[in-house]
Symmetry: D2
Subunit: 267 residues, 4 copies
């Protein structure tokens, strides 16, 4: 499937500001092949591309005071998002690779240690594997209300399991915390989603089953047609799209994900 | 039913210490009639009996430095504890009396405001009334593990709903928070319980239904034979059996509740 | 001092709604004498005046579906707000009256048990008395930023002591929690304040010293000229100005407090 | 300085258990040179040495059911622990290397986002650099009580900043959270400490200043003579000495750190 992606945001910076940008799809490989990609910042300072602890490319630049804007356009060839097979296996700990092990541990917004009993109580009796992870996603979809304005950047899985309302970030955090509490490596992904309404950046989970990372989007009943990762991390703290080390005022943002050739499906 | 109650505790106080004692059954009325009652403190200072904000008699005394002990014995004529009738009615707010209204509000250990959605999600679909309150108690009994050492005096319903382990105090707090979140007045009771194993003071909830306060003990499947209230309040913060305003070391405690005439049933 | 008070709010109710109103000044006595008082609700249902657990008069009414508005006007003769005397005495526990004792205990938004050590660390070394309570208020004024939008109705003293931003309600809760942690009875007051900018209902603390309740408003440096209490309670949970038991939409609110005869000092 | 280290622990495992061991000093380089090292597990299964996300060597093994024990002995040549120079520079964000950037982000037990204002309020006015980090450590030493039994494995910096009691792990977490809130990369280290009383494994912080990681041990007034790192991570969640994926019972533990040639200073 070929996707045309367009993301842009503009800000007003009160001083020269060191800035991290993560808007370019990462983990590009067989599943996600970039055909064309164009990132323009206005004004256009020198930028460096580094790699963070979780393997994400991170653009570092010094944005000058005044209006600042980035504009990212890409054409991506992506495999359609797969449903998790019912029999995708949970790994015994000895078979979890070293670089996935960190995703079994609790993190700022995914306190899997505190959610251990509730996870076992709700999902411990289910047979392990893909079906169980889908049961977690279905539980979230049923019991948590998607609602803007009920949470903020400090809300964590420990809150959401009780307060039962939130946005994509909160759904992902609780999904991840439940998986980790059951011993399933799970991580946070920021990415582009085809068909998201209203269009925006998206946050979702990935669970490690049968030797692969599967997408888990508990804000949606069914299977998203396409999800393109930008960055992965332990939770949303690790994958901010833009980080300004200084005072900036957000002006506006546009995110568009369209199927190329296809007509209507802009989201 | 006639009960013989015996409770005693001993302490070592490092200075003359103002002390509040609440070990004498309160709310004595048709359901609980005191036949004999004897409270001895050693040494025996002058004490005053006051009434607190929630109507509980509270003994105030100045305990001298050194060993301090109270010994309380009573014979109580009590009505057997009733099961909540399935059709005991929840009151519309306009029919909740002024002195029960305070028991609809959140408190230190029963944050019903934070548990509003989880309560509605789990119990909002059930028909209101006694059956619903019993469903709450059954949920607690099934989903929360009774286990010493998993909680402390700072644990609240907000913790227990997720951590799902605790002692009688924690069961009562979560039961109360769920009831209040549904608009049902609910309060905390410290009391004496026939058949408690191991014997101890007990904490449980009361819900206001059909014009009466009904006992709800979610640590037990079925109906306790007898529960005798010592004090009621919004949560455990309000009904401490002993409060020392100073440094004291706990030595030992005995609580016995036996059915008079009956033989073995000491708890 | 003579004050003219005018408070009104309007709502749109989607159904007949049982409603509690607390806007009329309570604790009226030598310090606050009502000269004229007029409460009009539109439409005008039958209402009852009850007294809550904390002694506040509470108006109960059934507001019909549709637009609902209350309009309260009063002329109050009030003693000017007193500064706490430096030597106002903290009471040893034995001298705290029974009805003040409940204000030494932790509550939903004033978790004095959790703040015990920080209170002792910051204020335990100061000589007890009025000067210490004023030091608490000064600490709040210096270390907590008054800022709308940083907190919500679930924010508690445990949050504010670290997050250090909030509105009058948050200042009052932390002030109260510190006082209680030191053994000083402290309660929450909703009331009318002369000179508040922008004008609004106000929330502040009262501490019990030298046999009297003193106002503590840590949002203000200096001494408010006049504070007229509407209701007191353990924290903001107990003193809501309006409680709708049903779905209502807030439309608008006006609060005016002016010195009668005086010219400009509308707040 | 030459150190002799001996650490051993024994357990009873109820089944064959996949186990992670991190007891061997990591980050071995000019500052810490291993002269001799001997790790024996009893029984002795095959083990693999992997590297985790933070660069720590991690021994993976399948421990058979029954008694399990590891015994680790090493002789380490270590540079004495350095005091942080007053003028060690804080780095502007643009000069923080990619692999240190993760240590500026909040984590499970170091919620620097929630502690932002308290950190700025307490330390924001101090000149940046080594002196400021030492001021943070001194604040901890003065305001937090070192006391066993006051915290558990779920306690975080957000708790400790208010509850002000804890053990080395809690001191490290709060130190780290304060540093990160000021923009200073800070990480958690588990390690061996010369002179610790009573002897045990140790947890402390490292802050990144002037291009180097400096040890910060806020449980101690002055400068520890020697600290040898075992593993680093975002907080204690990342650096457990032993992780059993299954049920094990702890039996006993010995940790000894002695200066070779020196006589008495066993800790």
């Amino acid at each position: 499937m070929k996707l045309n992606i367009h993301a842009s945001s503009s800000y007003e910076l009160s001083a020269d500001t060191f800035t991290l940008l993560m808007v370019e799809p990462a983990l590009v490989g067989p599943a996600h092949r970039v055909r064309e990609e164009n990132l323009v910042t206005t004004p256009t300072p020198f930028s460096e591309l580094w790699t963070d602890t979780f393997g994400n490319p991170q653009r570092r630049l010094l944005a000058p005071a005044g209006p600042f804007r980035y504009d990212f356009k890409a054409t991506i060839e992506t495999e359609p998002n797969r449903e998790i097979p019912d029999d995708a296996a949970e790994h015994p700990p000895k078979d979890i690779p070293a670089d996935a092990m960190v995703y079994t541990l609790p993190s700022r917004y995914c306190q899997s240690d505190l959610l251990s009993r509730v996870a076992l109580d709700e999902f411990g009796g289910l047979p392990p594997g893909g079906r169980r992870v889908k049961a977690i996603a279905a539980w979230l979809y049923q019991h948590v209300e998607y609602r803007y304005g009920t949470t903020d950047s400090m809300t964590s899985a420990y809150d959401t399991v009780t307060q039962r309302a939130g946005v994509c970030r909160d759904f992902a955090h609780l999904t991840i915390a439940f998986c980790r509490a059951l011993g399933i490596p799970a991580r946070y992904v920021s990415g582009y989603c085809l068909g998201l309404d209203p269009p925006d950046f998206h946050g979702y989970a990935q669970a490690y089953l049968g030797g692969a990372w599967y997408n888990v989007d508990s804000t949606f009943q069914g299977v998203r047609r396409a999800l393109v990762p930008i960055a992965v991390g332990r939770d949303a703290a690790d994958v901010a799209m833009t980080t300004f080390f200084g005072a900036g005022t957000f002006r506006e943002q546009t995110v568009e994900v369209r199927e190329a050739g296809g007509g209507a499906s802009g989201g």
